[in-house]
């Protein structure tokens, strides 16, 4: 499937994406999510993103701040508004919608 950039909310080059991926240990879902995220970052964000991995098994208290329930959860704090993308990020289309790179249909 050919994926084109959405124009409206597309960040300019100077914008830095800050993405936080919440995982709980090295579960298959979490590993898949990380791999998928790296791919999307490279393909659609020109690598202009900073990925932070938070393992809740190590820092359970951090789940509270971003209201994490589901694992894995990808949180986009910047640019606003906050978005939460849950799941292993295998559905690239939905991830792009979640990141506001693709308009909801």
């Amino acid at each position: 499937m050919a994926v084109t950039k959405a124009t409206k909310t597309s960040p300019t080059k100077s914008d830095k994406w800050i993405l936080r991926l919440y995982v709980a240990g090295q579960t298959p879902k979490c590993i898949a999510a990380f791999a998928n995220l790296k791919k999307i970052c490279a393909e659609y964000l020109d690598g202009q993103c900073q990925i932070e991995i938070i393992d809740l098994l190590e820092n359970p208290q951090l789940a509270r701040g971003d209201q994490i329930i589901a694992i894995p959860t990808l949180v986009r704090n910047l640019p606003q508004p906050v978005r939460k993308i849950i799941g292993d990020l295998s559905n690239t289309e939905r991830v792009l919608v979640g990141l506001d790179l693709r308009s909801r249909t």
Partner: protein, 579 residues
């Protein structure tokens, strides 16, 4: 941690909720270490139930607790229960309680494949471990159904969650919204099956009633009825009134009615303590006054009383009673008499009963008055009213409280119509009647029954004086039964006749006296006459005697003279001697 002493016959360990009444119904509390489902519609008190479970656990049973809120923030929750006197912030500081607000916002969430709810587990696990929690509340976990689309994942995860909670050994309360025809909207009862409690808030005839039912309790017996419960400034109270049996003691102590003549009618001593007395009568026959006399006498003895007035305000009752010389206000000031004036239809039957129970528990009176009971009639069908009264009576008797129930009779010919069918529940029944005669209305009182008391079978006339109630014997004579002015007139007539009779007797007595006096004086006169005559006769006798002597002497002298010595005296004397 304080161990809950579970009943010996029950192998299941229990965590007391600290909610008044609930622990009795469940015989000790919720199943320890297992999840309990509390379901009900919006506004039925689920959250409050959960909060009380945690707060009582933290304060009374030293069980720290975790509150996972899906609907309210920590601040809101803290504020909401502050009105009940629960300081959640303080409990949090003391590490007795952790509140974690989990916000599930559908619009923020994009689902992109496989996921699980490990985040929830992590948060919960962290909260539990941080304070060593023994109790957990999930309020309302169903909120996550609105946040996630994949219900298959949710259901699998919930199943895992409840198993995990059990493994953790925490006693959990999970609240859920009631669905149509199902206990919960999303079928949580499928996963949480150890204990299910249903809260219900129904409104009938504009009166709201809250009820609680233990739908199931695996591994334990429990009360199965619907129990009414109250939410007030002290939180939830469930009163398992139906669980009382007929095991109350029967005291042989007697308590004065406060009316001497009524005591006389009741075998001279009054009612038995701990019994129930029904006073029925038509409007204005003095039911309240009789009850008030009883209260007054009790307060004089220093006993505590509660007066449940369902039609008049306390001020009105006390003012009216002052007119017959009864002042209850000092007793109220002293704290011996507690007035509770509420219309029962303000709360509904069950709620009213609950309020009564709570008040009785609080004040612990030895005497209660319900004036009038008729106000309860309108609140439900007679079966409901009767069952409520039965429970009320049982609990009053169980506490050895002597109670008076006033009921209003409609019409004058209904004396035998058993009032609400409750007369069989009552130990004594005093009936007040209007007796209409000669164009006036008088009050009559008689005792229809008094269990265990040799009571008078007489109708007494009942009179209000400014010194209270007096009972007068009615006139029962040749003229029939008379009361009021007719009795007074008849009495006056009889008094007059009696007076006349008394006067006649006096007169006769005086006459007799006079006769006796006349006789006496006659006797005196006769005696006087007799004495004079006797004197005379004595004198005559003396005279005659002296004359006789003289004659004798003359005869002697004559004889001397005849013997020849005539002429000289001595001779004659000698002759005389010799003769």
């Amino acid at each position: 941690m304080k161990k809950n002493s579970a009943p010996s016959h029950s192998a299941l360990a229990k965590s007391p909720t600290g909610i008044r009444g609930l622990d009795e119904i469940t015989l000790g509390g919720l199943p320890r270490g297992r999840p309990t489902l509390v379901c009900g519609r919006a506004g039925c008190g689920k959250t409050l139930f959960a909060v009380e479970f945690l707060v009582h656990g933290a304060i009374d049973y030293d069980d720290p607790g975790v509150f996972i809120a899906f609907e309210e923030t920590e601040e809101d929750l803290t504020k909401n229960v502050a009105s009940l006197g629960y300081d959640l912030a303080d409990l949090s500081r003391r590490k007795k309680l952790t509140i974690d607000y989990i916000r599930v916002e559908r619009s923020e969430i994009e689902e992109t494949g496989e996921y699980d709810l490990e985040g929830l587990f992590v948060r919960l696990g962290h909260a539990i471990d941080s304070i060593g929690a023994k109790r957990v509340v999930l309020d309302t976990i169903e909120a996550i159904f609105s946040g996630f689309q994949n219900t298959n994942i949710l259901r699998a995860e919930l199943r895992r969650l409840f198993r995990w909670l059990k493994d953790k050994g925490v006693t959990a309360v999970i609240t859920a919204e009631q669905g149509d025809g199902t206990l919960t909207r999303h079928g949580l009862e499928e996963y949480v099956s150890d204990c299910v409690i249903l809260l219900d808030h129904r409104v009938r005839d504009q009166i709201s009633t809250r009820r609680l039912r233990v739908v199931k309790y695996r591994g334990s017996s429990h009360g199965t009825n619907e129990y009414p419960f109250l939410i007030d400034e002290q939180g939830i109270s469930v009163l398992p009134i139906t669980s009382l049996g007929l095991e109350h003691k029967a005291a042989s102590e007697r308590v004065s009615t406060g009316i001497e003549s009524l005591d006389q009618m009741l075998g001279g001593k009054g009612y038995y303590r701990g019994t129930s007395i029904l006073i029925s009568g038509t409007a204005g026959t003095g039911k309240t006054s009789i009850a008030a006399h009883f209260v007054d006498a009790a307060c004089r003895r220093g006993e505590r009383c509660i007066y449940f007035s369902s039609e008049e305000s306390p001020a009105q009752v006390t003012r009216n009673l002052r007119s017959i010389g009864l002042d209850l206000e000092p007793w109220m000031k002293k704290g011996l008499l507690h007035f509770d004036a509420t219309r029962p239809n303000f709360h509904g039957l069950e709620m009213h009963l609950l309020r009564v129970q709570k008040l009785i528990d609080q004040i612990k009176p030895s005497i209660t008055v319900f004036d009038p009971l008729s106000g309860y009639l309108t609140l439900g069908d007679s079966l409901e009213v009767k069952s409520m009264l039965t429970r009320l009576l049982d609990s009053l008797k169980g506490r050895q409280i002597t109670s008076i129930f006033n009921t209003l009779l409609e019409g004058d010919h209904s004396e035998l119509q058993s009032e609400l069918g409750v007369s069989s529940l009552m130990d004594s029944w005093i009936l007040l009647r209007n007796i209409e005669h000669n164009g006036e209305r008088n009050r009559g009182l008689y005792i229809l029954k008094a269990r265990g008391i040799a009571h008078s079978n007489q109708i007494r006339e009942f009179i209000f004086t400014d010194r209270g109630i007096e009972l007068k014997d009615v006139y029962a004579g040749a003229e029939g039964v008379l009361t009021g002015s007719a009795r007074a007139a008849q009495e006056a007539r009889e008094k007059a006749a009696a007076q006349l009779r008394r006067e006649a007797i006096e007169r006769k007595k005086r006459e007799l006296e006079r006769k006796r006096q006349a006789l006496d004086s006659q006797i005196v006169a006769l005696r006087a006459q007799f004495e004079t005559e006797a004197e005379e006769i004595k004198k005559e006798i003396a005279l005659e005697t002296s004359r006789e002597q003289a004659l004798q002497m003359d005869r002697v002298q004559m004889a001397q003279l005849r013997s020849g010595n005539g002429g000289s005296k001595p001779r004659r004397e000698r002759n005389g001697k010799g003769a």
